[in-house]
Symmetry: C2
DNA sequence: ATATATATATAGAACATCGATATATGAGAG
DNA sequence: CTCTCATATATCGATGTTCTATATATATAT
């Protein structure tokens, strides 16, 4: 099942950083991996991914290096920096807060299990 | 805790329809109710809400009527139509799919609990 | 030789939210 | 009585995120 693209907004960076926390990856691989893990809920487009990766690099969240695949092809691998790890932690916390809040509204209930 | 606004994208319509499923409400009330239930995670802005309500009305998802408050003040109440109820069901299903998919990626795991 | 999958890149369009601003009324303070 | 603040609705331009379309290049399969 595909979901409306606007739902994806904001979660894309979180997902990419999470992938890179596990191991270095190249762009095309991230697209495939996200689709695989989500049963095709996430079909991130190349036109979205590459500019985002460049931006994360400029912000010092990831590093890039080139490496040759078995078949001679040169790929651009990305690795998470410590700063990127910090952003990942922030984004994970945000996601938990956000998804809890949505579920709370959907349950139709007032606040509970929280600060008061 | 506030979350990045881009996370909200796509979920706003779901949340509004959900509120209206429970009872008719006016715009200002929806803003306050969402903030209350989410412990201020959702602080929907008037500049976002009113155009969205007008759009939902044009699409036949909600009906509008004016009603006087105890204090003479005239408010615009919104009620969910059957078409709107259909959209709400769709959006709720989308949300479940989406949030499950994110959590699956965050768990770092391959797919399970799904179609294969 | 040609088509298809892999791999990266950029520009312009579409869409959702926000901030700023405007208007009007009711309630409370001084 | 007047001034301010909370309530209540509305619109516009700016911003940010994703998409589609397009481009390029190499490896693989037909």
């Amino acid at each position: 099942m595909k979901v409306d693209k606007s739902l994806l907004a904001g979660s894309t960076t979180l997902l990419l950083l999470k992938l890179l926390e596990e191991k270095d990856m190249y762009g095309y691989q991230m697209i495939e991996e996200l689709a695989r893990r989500s049963n095709d809920t996430f079909t991130l487009k190349a036109g979205t991914l590459y500019p985002l990766l460049h931006q994360l690099e400029q912000q010092g969240m990831v590093n890039v290096y080139e490496a040759q695949a078995e078949n001679q092809r040169v790929r651009k691998y990305y690795s998470l920096t410590s700063k990127g790890r910090g952003l990942l932690n922030e984004k994970e916390a945000e996601w938990k807060t956000f998804s809890s809040a949505v579920n709370q509204v959907l349950r139709g209930g007032a606040s509970y299990g929280t600060a008061f």
